[in-house]
Structure formats: C-alpha cells, structure tokens
C-alpha cells in the first residue's frame, strides 16, 4: 500500500492478505516521521499502541476470525479527543498539566472495534475557537498543498494529516465550520453529521449547543466507512440521538437520479471569490441543480451562531480566565473574556431565533433533498494573514472564513464538504441535506467523485 491508498483499499488488502496491518502501520509511522516536521500535523504519535493494535488485527486474520470494515486502517484524532495515556490538550497550553486520560473517547473505541489503528493526536487551534489551524503553543498546522499556507481550522492537523498522506482518515470537530474549513483549504472530503448523530463523550467541548464530531478523508466512501462505524447511541452524551444507526454505505453508489438539488444564492454569492464561483458552477452543472434559493434571514443566523459561540465559550473557560489568563493565546483570551460579558438576554434571543430559523429552513427540505453552498469564501490564505477582501472591502480574516459554514451548523444540518481540485489550490463545496439524511449528502459526494468533478488532489510533496 502507498501513502495515497484509501481506507477502503487498505482494509480490502489486509482482509485478503495482500498486505498486513503491521506493514501498513509501519509505513504510516515512517511517513509521519518523514513529513510531520514540515506539516506539524501530529502533536503526539502513539506508535507502540498502534503497533500492538496492528499485530492484533494480523493475529485475528491468521486465526480466521472475522475482520472489521476498517481492518488495519490508520487514523488519527484532533487532540481534543481523550486518548488513554495522553492529556487532552484541545490545542491549549493550560491543558498540558491535566492528568492523562484513562479511557479513550467512544468514537476512537468504535473505529478500533472496526479494525482501525490509532496513530496519534493532531494539532488544532486553541480550544477550537479558530478557523486558521494556527496555534501559538504548537506552531501552525501547514497546508500540504503549499506549506506557507493555512490548513484552516480549528481541525488543522486533521486536514494536514489526511491531505499530506500521513493517514487516510482523521477525526475532527465542527462547531461553526472546523471540519468543513480545513476540508476546503486542504482539498478533502469532510463530513459534519447531524447535530446529535455522533457521541461527543470524552472530548473537550467548546460550545455545547453547536459542537459536532466527524471524519475527514480523501474519498466519500472512506467518510461513509468511518461514519457508519461510529454511529450509535451513547448515554454519556445527553445530545446523542437514540435513533438506531442508519448506515450510509449501502446506498452510497445509488446515484443522484431522483434527488432534487438546489443552490443557495443571495448571501452565499456575496463575497465569493472567482474560485468559489468556478467551484459552485462545476458542481451545480454536474448535479443539474438549476434552482437558486435563498435561506431565510441567513445573515442573522450567522450572527446568532457567533453570539452563542462566544457566550458559551466564555462560560466554559470562565474559571481559567480568572486564574490562568496569561496562559491562553492572547487572541483567544480576549475573545473568550468578551464572550463571557455578552448579556444573557441577548444570548437567549439568539437561541429563540435559532428555533425559528430551523423551522424556516426545514420547509425548504420539503421541496429539495439537498442544497449546495460554498464552504469558504476563498482558497487557503497565507500563514499569518490577518485580513481578506470580501465584497470589495478589507475585513478581518479569522472571523470571516466561516461565513458560509456557520449558518448551516447553527441548526445542525448534515453536510459533506466536497473538494474541487482547482489549481493552484483546492476549494470545497458544501452538500447540505435535511437532518438525519447524511446518506443523501454522501451519495451526492460519491457521485461527484465518480464524475471526477470532486477529487482530493495529491499535493506536491
């Protein structure tokens, strides 16, 4: 197997005995050793654990025991997931003094039960309050397509590790776009499932109202493989659904025949750079999505997501702001302090608006099965870049990277971000489905991949 093999190819080769889990794991560890110095994707490599798991997979095959659908597939997780034996950093300096986790996050356990092999923990923006993938404590995650550019964040190492060919699957979190933004900047498929679909137990939170977890990969099939393995109820996360798993893999290749697909216009056209317009045009042409619709009050939805985020983030970190303010990235600290001061009356209004907006958007899904929207207003910015051009005006970069992703996660809709292999840099398009219809978004992503419209491009490493 080589660096660009998909998870599906690796699992098949391991199951058929064409390679072994230990050979795949050793090769992945060698790639991390070779490339992580530049990419800065991994903050911890769990080599011993990975080798032990790989040997167990190979022993199971030798004994004739059934192998899981991810047998021998290397993966890694954003460092806000609990990994037994590691402190859960969540991109911070402060959490380095926490006791090591004693138990893995359940999503790790579920992937390992399917045969996958955990290789380590990944760099991220501090406490996930970030769209850039930069980190003052660990240094920036670097984009494999141009190492002078951002991966996007906050799941920066998740984007860099998969786009850089270190692992075929990484897990990230997405509160306002933190899976979809790195997917767009790094040219990857990323799934932000429905709010409540995947358990968030034993992961460091950011905004309880908006936090989601999900996979990034180089193919839609790999997303479906990982997603199906991670579904299922969990009493440890009060938000996690009690619905039984609804696997996406069985219908992945069903095509798009009867699906009604619209394009989000208005707000989602304003500020769009030329690459965004090109990407949207390629995707909508392939999908014959001719209807342009407007999401109601979408700018207000983005504003409400911003307010809930800063307020809940400020509340989460209040004690640390009181006692260890000097140990935060100053930029994160000042956002969180300001967030803690937003009046509760205004936050409650934002939560009321959220229910109204949800009802309005759900009406659109009576007419359409999926809605297309850009993922980011631009391709990957340069590391350290502070401002961007939006609608002809120079505006702060950080806060505006997520303008297209925030109004969608705000009401928990499932999204697959699909990569368009444009030159010189890739960019993503959001395929948005109704709640609990991840299967539809994945089907469309798979169709676009087969049509060679969406593809995870190989970087010049």
């Amino acid at each position: 197997m080589e660096a660009w093999s998909t998870a599906a190819e690796i699992a098949e080769a391991v199951a058929q005995g064409r390679t072994s889990a230990i050979a795949v794991t050793e090769a992945a560890l060698a790639r991390i050793k070779e490339r992580n110095g530049v990419l800065n994707a991994f903050t911890a490599v769990t080599a011993e654990r990975a080798l032990a798991k790989a040997r167990a997979v190979d022993a199971a095959r030798a004994a004739g025991r059934p192998l899981g659908p991810l047998a021998g597939v290397p993966f890694a997780v954003k460092n806000l997931f609990d990994v037994a034996g590691l402190p859960t950093l969540a991109g911070s300096k402060i959490n380095r003094t926490r006791a090591a986790a004693t138990v893995d996050a359940p999503l790790i356990t579920r992937l390992e039960s399917a045969g996958a092999v955990l290789l380590g923990a990944l760099n991220m923006g501090e406490y996930a309050y970030d769209f850039t993938g930069e980190n003052v404590h660990d240094g920036p995650s670097r984009n494999p397509h141009d190492t002078g550019r951002m991966t996007g964040g906050s799941s920066g190492g998740s984007g860099g590790s998969v786009a850089g060919g270190l692992v075929p699957i990484a897990l990230g979190s997405d509160t306002n776009g933190s899976i979809r933004v790195p997917s767009s900047f790094c040219g990857l498929f990323g799934l932000k499932p429905t709010y409540g679909r995947l358990t968030r137990a034993r992961t460091f939170p950011f905004v309880a109202s908006l936090d989601h977890l999900g996979p990034l990969a180089r193919s839609a099939r790999d997303l479906a493989l990982a997603y199906d393995a991670m579904q299922g109820p969990d009493v440890e996360d009060p938000v996690c659904t009690t619905r039984l798993p609804e696997p996406a893999l069985p219908t992945l290749g069903k095509g798009i025949g009867e699906l009604r697909i619209a394009v989000a216009g208005g707000y989602f056209e304003r500020g769009a750079g030329p690459e965004v317009i090109q990407a949207m045009s390629l995707v909508s042409q392939e999908l014959k999505a001719n209807d342009i619709i407007e999401l109601p009050e979408v700018a207000r939805a983005r504003a409400a997501a911003f307010v809930i985020t800063t307020s809940e983030g400020g509340a989460l970190h209040l004690d640390r702001l009181r006692t260890r303010a000097g140990d935060f990235d100053p930029a994160t600290r000042d956002r969180l302090i300001a967030g803690a001061m937003v009046p509760a009356s205004l936050v409650t209004k934002a939560q009321k608006f959220r229910r109204w907006y949800r009802a309005q958007v759900l009406q659109l899904f009576e007419r359409y099965d999926a809605i297309l929207a850009p993922a980011t207003p631009m391709t990957a910015p340069k590391l350290g870049q502070q401002t961007m051009m939006l609608d002809g005006a120079e505006v702060p970069l950080r806060a505006n990277i997520g303008i297209y992703t925030q109004p969608i996660s705000f009401i928990g809709l499932p999204v697959v971000c699909v990569p368009l292999p444009l030159r010189p840099l890739p960019i993503g398009v959001q395929v948005i489905a109704a709640p609990w219809r991840e299967d539809i978004a994945l089907r469309i992503a798979h169709h676009l991949e087969r049509a060679q419209v969406a593809q995870a491009p190989r970087p010049p490493l």
Binding site: A303, A340, K349, F353, R355
Partner: protein, 63 residues
C-alpha cells in the same frame, strides 16, 4: 438599538470584569472592546428580529 460608544463599553467591561471576577490588564482592553463590540452588534441584529413571546429557545431539556 444604537451602538454603544467606546467609553461606555470600556466602563461596562470594567464593571463586568469585576462582577465576573476576571482580572483584566489595561493592555488587553482594546482587543476585548473590539471583540465585544462585534458581538453586541451581531447580537442586536438578532435581537431586532421580532419573535412572539411564546417562542421557545432551541435547546430543550428533558427531565
């Protein structure tokens, strides 16, 4: 709602910092003020949208 001026916002931040028990250094004030000004502007855009008194917030607690 009209926007709050810098001086009034700084007074609010100092009072809120005291109420919350969060010590802030003078050097942090411009950045905190800028962040809070954006949050309040956006929060008021949301709050200006009229909803009936009976409308429920999004999170639902189940006993």
């Amino acid at each position: 709602m009209s926007e709050i001026d810098d001086k009034a916002l700084e007074a609010y931040i100092k009072a809120a910092a005291a109420a919350l028990g969060v010590p802030i250094e003078d050097a942090w004030m411009p950045s905190i003020r800028a962040n809070l000004a954006v949050s309040l502007r956006l929060a008021n855009i949301v709050a200006d949208f009229e909803l009936p008194d009976e409308s429920e917030p999004a999170p639902v607690f189940e006993a």
